[in-house]
Symmetry: C2
C-alpha cells in the first residue's frame, strides 16, 4: 500500500476538482482507505474515490461500523476518514465522532450534502431535518474544526485548514461536500503547495505554524522547578498517557526512561504506550483497579510525573481518590502544571526535549520483576470450565509480535490489564469514553491501517450484538481478525453494579455466523483446553476471520470487574 502514487498528477496539467484535491490531501496525510456507506448526496464523491488509484473504499454494513473502523485506522496510522451521506448517514456516526473527540483520535468525517443550487427557497429535500446547516451545527459541538466548502475558489484553503486541525489537535473534524461542488474545478491561484511525496508522510503536528511558540523564560523556570522536584524526591514515577501515542512521542519517552531509570506506568487508555517488557515498566496504573503492587508503588511515590495523561476518573479507578496533586508534575498538550500552578506558554514537546537533556540525580534501576511480575507459567491443557481470569492468562502467553489486541468496553478491557503487550501501541480500547461495540469494526480499521498486524478482538456478547455483524466486511475485504466473544448472556459489567432482566440478552450461536456471511470459522469453547486449541487453530487459519464463542458462567467475571462493580454499584 505504501508508496502507491495517486492517479492524478498536477504537473501534467490535468484539471483538478474539489474532490480530487481533497482526495490528494488525504492521501498525502497517509490515508489509503476510506470507510463509509454511500447515499445519493455523496455518490459522486464515492465515484471519484473508486476511480482514484491508491485509495480503497471500504463499505461497511452500517455507518456506525465505518466510523468505528476509521477511528481505529486513525489511532494506528495518524489520520482516518469516514465518508457518509447527509443526515441519514451523518447522524448515525455522531457517537463514533464523540468517541474520537473524547479520546483524541484524528478522524475526518466527510459528509455529502444537497447541492448549493438545490437549497434555494428551502425546499423539503429528502433526508433534510430543520435547516440545511443543522448537521454542521450539530457536529460543531463534537469536532475541533468544520467547513462547508461551498465555493471552489476557497475550497482548497478550507480543506487544508480542517485537515491540519485534525492532525494538530488529534480530534475529529467535519467536512460537508455539497454535491454540486464535488466536480467543480479548484482555483489555480491558490498559493499553498506541498510536496506530492508518494510516501507515507504526516507533517509534524506540534510544529504547525498556526500555534503559539514556547516562551523560553517560562520554559526555563518550569524546567528548574521540575528538576528540583524530581531530584529531591526519593521514589519518582512516570505515568505515561495516551498523548505519548497520539503525538508520536514514544521515542522521546523511551529516551527519558533509559537515561533516568525512573520507573514508568501506563494507564487504561494508554496501555502498551511503553513496551511492557521494558525493565523500567511497572504495569498499568488504574487506581484501585490496578494490580496491588502497581497501586502501592505509584501511590507511595513522592513525585508523580504524568506525561500526556487524561485525568479521567476511569484512568484512576473511578471511585478512587486521584494521586495527590502536591506531588504531581503534569505535562500534556493542553497544559503544563506543577503542583497547583500552570505554565501556559510552554509547549509540551519543547518541554519534553529540554527535560531529556537535563541533569538528573542517580536513581537505582528497578530489580527485575519486583513489580511487574507478568511471568505466567505456560498453562496445561485442562478439561476445566473456562473462566475470564484463565482466559486472559492463557491469551497472555499466546500473544505474538504480530498481534494487536483490541478490547471492547467492560470486562474485555478490565481483563486486558493483565495482558503483557510486548510491542508499543499494539493495544486499542475506548477506555475513557467506553462506547460498546467499538472493537469488532475497530479491528477492520486497524488491520487495514497496518496489514502486518493480526488483530485479536476481545468483546462481550452484548457489545458484539451491536456491531459484530461487521464480520461481513472482513469477509468482503479478506481480513482475518480473531474475535473472542465473552459469552455470559448479558451485560456483565452492569450486573456487577445493579442487576435486572434489562441486563439479559438473547443467547446467540456466535459460531454459526460464518454460515451467514459464508466466510470465517467458528468455535464453541467451554473448557480451557478448547480455548487453547481454538487459539492455535485460529492462528493457522489465516484466510478469514475466526470467531470464538467462549461460554462463561453468567456470574463469572475478572477480579478487576468484581472490584469495579462493588465500587460503582454504590453510585447508580
Amino acid at each position: 500500500v505504501e508508496g502507491e502514487a495517486l492517479m492524478l498528477d498536477r504537473s501534467t496539467g490535468d484539471t483538478e476538482t474539489v474532490a480530487d484535491y481533497l482526495i490528494r490531501r488525504l492521501h498525502n496525510y497517509g490515508i489509503r482507505h476510506i470507510f463509509g456507506v454511500p447515499g445519493d448526496y455523496v455518490l459522486s464523491f464515492f465515484d471519484k474515490l473508486v476511480h482514484t488509484k491508491g485509495i480503497h473504499v471500504i463499505n461497511t454494513c452500517d455507518e456506525q461500523g465505518a466510523a468505528f473502523a476509521a477511528d481505529a485506522y486513525a489511532r494506528v496510522r495518524g489520520l482516518g476518514a469516514v465518508c457518509v451521506t447527509y443526515s441519514v448517514g451523518g447522524f448515525k456516526v455522531l457517537n463514533a465522532i464523540a468517541q474520537a473527540f473524547a479520546e483524541k483520535s484524528p478522524l475526518v468525517l466527510v459528509s455529502g450534502a444537497p447541492g448549493m443550487n438545490e437549497r434555494h427557497r428551502n425546499p423539503l429535500l429528502h433526508h433534510k431535518v430543520q435547516d440545511f446547516d443543522t448537521q454542521q451545527r450539530i457536529f460543531e459541538h463534537l469536532t475541533i474544526d468544520s467547513a462547508l466548502p461551498s465555493n471552489p475558489d476557497t475550497a482548497m484553503a478550507d480543506i487544508d485548514r480542517v485537515l491540519s486541525s485534525a492532525v494538530y489537535y488529534k480530534r475529529p473534524v467535519y467536512l460537508e461536500l455539497p454535491r454540486d461542488i464535488v466536480s467543480s474545478e479548484v482555483a489555480r491561484t491558490y498559493g499553498y503547495d506541498f510536496p506530492s511525496t508518494p510516501h507515507f508522510h504526516i507533517p509534524d503536528p506540534l510544529r504547525h505554524e498556526r500555534f503559539t511558540e514556547t516562551d523560553h523564560e517560562a520554559l526555563k523556570e518550569a524546567l528548574t522547578e521540575t528538576l528540583d522536584m524530581i531530584n529531591s524526591s526519593s521514589k519518582p514515577v512516570i505515568i505515561a498517557g495516551i498523548e505519548i501515542h497520539r503525538f508520536g512521542l514514544q521515542d522521546k519517552l523511551l529516551e527519558l526512561i533509559e537515561k533516568t531509570k525512573i520507573p514508568v506506568a501506563s494507564t487504561l487508555l494508554s496501555k502498551s504506550v511503553v513496551d511492557e517488557l521494558n525493565p523500567n515498566y511497572v504495569g498499568e496504573y488504574a487506581g484501585n483497579m490496578s494490580r496491588n503492587s502497581v497501586q502501592r508503588y505509584v501511590e507511595s511515590s513522592d513525585c508523580v510525573i504524568m506525561i500526556g495523561v487524561f485525568l479521567s476518573h476511569v484512568n484512576f479507578g473511578i471511585t478512587h481518590t486521584p494521586v495527590d496533586q502536591s506531588r504531581c508534575i503534569y505535562l500534556s498538550s493542553d497544559e503544563i502544571s506543577i503542583r497547583f500552578h500552570n505554565y501556559e506558554d510552554v509547549r509540551f514537546d519543547d518541554f519534553l526535549d529540554e527535560l531529556i537533556k537535563a541533569d538528573f540525580k542517580y536513581f537505582p534501576p528497578l530489580l527485575p520483576n519486583t513489580i511487574n511480575d507478568n511471568s505466567s507459567t505456560s498453562p496445561h491443557k485442562k478439561k476445566m470450565k473456562i473462566t475470564s481470569d484463565r482466559l486472559f492468562e492463557i491469551l497472555d502467553v499466546t500473544l505474538s509480535d504480530h498481534n494487536i489486541v483490541i478490547a471492547d468496553a467492560g470486562d474485555s478491557m478490565l481483563g486486558s490489564i493483565d495482558l503483557t503487550i510486548p510491542i508499543p501501541s499494539r493495544y486499542i480500547s475506548s477506555s475513557y469514553y467506553l462506547s460498546m461495540g467499538f472493537a469488532v469494526p475497530a479491528s477492520i480499521g486497524a488491520q487495514l491501517a497496518n496489514p502486518m498486524l493480526r488483530p485479536i478482538v476481545i468483546v462481550g456478547d452484548g457489545a458484539f450484538q451491536m456491531t459484530g455483524m461487521e464480520v461481513s466486511t472482513m469477509a468482503m475485504f479478506n481480513l482475518n481478525p480473531i474475535i473472542i466473544v465473552l459469552n455470559n448472556g448479558g451485560y456483565r459489567t452492569e450486573r456487577a453494579m445493579l442487576d435486572g432482566p434489562f441486563n439479559d440478552i438473547k443467547m446467540w450461536n456466535y459460531s454459526k455466523i460464518p454460515d451467514v456471511v459464508d466466510s470465517g470459522r467458528g468455535f464453541v469453547i467451554e473448557t480451557e483446553e478448547e480455548f487453547i486449541d481454538a487459539l492455535s487453530e485460529s492462528e493457522q487459519t489465516t484466510k478469514a476471520f475466526c470467531l470464538l464463542d467462549v461460554r462463561l458462567d453468567a456470574t463469572d467475571a475478572s477480579s478487576d470487574l468484581h472490584r469495579l462493580g462493588e465500587a460503582i454499584g454504590r453510585k447508580v
Copy 2:
C-alpha cells in the same frame, strides 16, 4: 395490556419519586413498552421501570434499534419512548430522533446522565465529551422541547411540559435524568392533577391550553374562500397527508369524503391514511412516480385540496414540478394557505370541523375502478424466477386485515405503492427522511403497540445488514413479523442513479440467521411458486419471526424505481 394499572397508587400515600412520576405520566399517555439499552448512568431508572407493573422494558441489540422501534410504536400508538444512557447511548439514537422530527413522530427520548452532585469542578467522568450539557444542546437541534429536571421541586412541571409538547407537536422531545434525581421525591405541592385512569388515554393534542385559539372572523373568511374555490371547480381532488394520521383526523376526513364525494389521493408518506378500498380513493399520488392514471387525475384537477401533506420533494416525485399553487388549498397544523396567501390564526382542526359542515355543490361520484384499479388476478404458481414487480403483485393479494406493512427506504417503499392496504394506518415507511434500516426494528415497535397486528416487513438487503439482527429482539420477546428481504446483492436504488463497487454488499445467507438466534424460520426463494409457498407457510408459523430471502437479479427493480433512478441519476 390495556387496562393494567400502575403499581403506584398515590391515594395510599406512597412516596412518589421523579422516576415514578415520569413513568406514571408515560403510562397515562398510553405507553406500555419502553425500548432501550441500559448503561450505568441510567441503570437505576431501568430498575424502576422493571419494577413497575404495566410497563415492559424491551431491550434491543443496539440503541439504534430501540429508537427505531420506539418511533414505530409512536406512529401506531400516539406516543413512544426510548431510554438510553448518557452519550454512548444518546448519540447512537440521533439519527432515529432526526427521522422522528422530520416525519412528525411523537417520541420521548429519556437519557440517563451523571448526577448533579457528580458535576462539581467538571471532572472527566466516563462517556463525557465536552461539557455536561453537550448532549442536551445537540438534541435541541432535533427535538421540539427538552428538559433536564435537576430539581425535584420543578421536575413534575418539566416532565409535563415536555411530554405535552411531544403529543401536541407530534415531534420528538428530550428528557435528561441525572442519576441522583431519579429517586428524589417530587414536590407534593405541585398543583397539576390529571385523572389516573388505568385506560389507554391520549389527551386531545389540538385542544392543548398552551396554544392559540382560532380567530373566528379569520376562519369565516378562509372558509368562504375555500368553498367558493371548491364549488366553482369542476374536478376537485383531496390529497390526504400524514398529519391526518398523526393528529387522529381519519374520521373527519372520511366524513368529508362521504359527504362531498370529492375523490381522494394519498402520498408516499401517508399511504393507507385512507382505506384503499374506499370508492372515492384514487390511489397514491407521487408526482411522476405515481401510476399514470393517478398522476393524470390529480394534475388535471382544477382544485387541489391538500390536507396535512408534507410538501417534500419525495412526495411529489423528487424531480417533478409540484402541483400548481394557484389551484391549491393547503391545510396543515403549520399553516392554512389558499393559493398564495396564509391564514395564521386559524386552527387546522377548527377549520376542518367547519368545512365538514359547509354546503357543497353536487360532485358526481367516481365510477367504480375508473382510476384506482388494483384488482390483481390471483397469481398462478409458477417456476418463473421471482421479480420485484411480481413480488408486490403476489403480496398484494396475500395481505390480510391483521397485517401491517412496514417498508424500508428504496425499492421496498417504491414497490409498495402498488399494494392495496384495506384498513387505514396499516402501512409505515420513512418515506420522507428515507433512513435505511428502519423497517426491521420498526416492526418490533408496531407489533408491541398493537399485538393484534402481524407486521410484514419489506426490506432491501443493504438495509437489513444495518439493523436486521434485531430479529434477536423478536426472538427474545416472542414476536412474529414476516420479513421479506429483497436480496439483490447491493444498494439497488443507488445503482439506478450511479453504480460502482461501493453499491456491492456481501451476500448473506439470510435464511440461516434463525440458527444464530435460535428462533424463527428461514426461507430461500428463487421462484414465484416458492414465494407463494413461503408466504403461506409463514402465515401458519405464528410462534416466531419468518425470514424470506428473496433472491432477485442484481438488475431487477420495480418499474417505479427505474423511473426514479433515471430522474435522480442526472442530479448526483
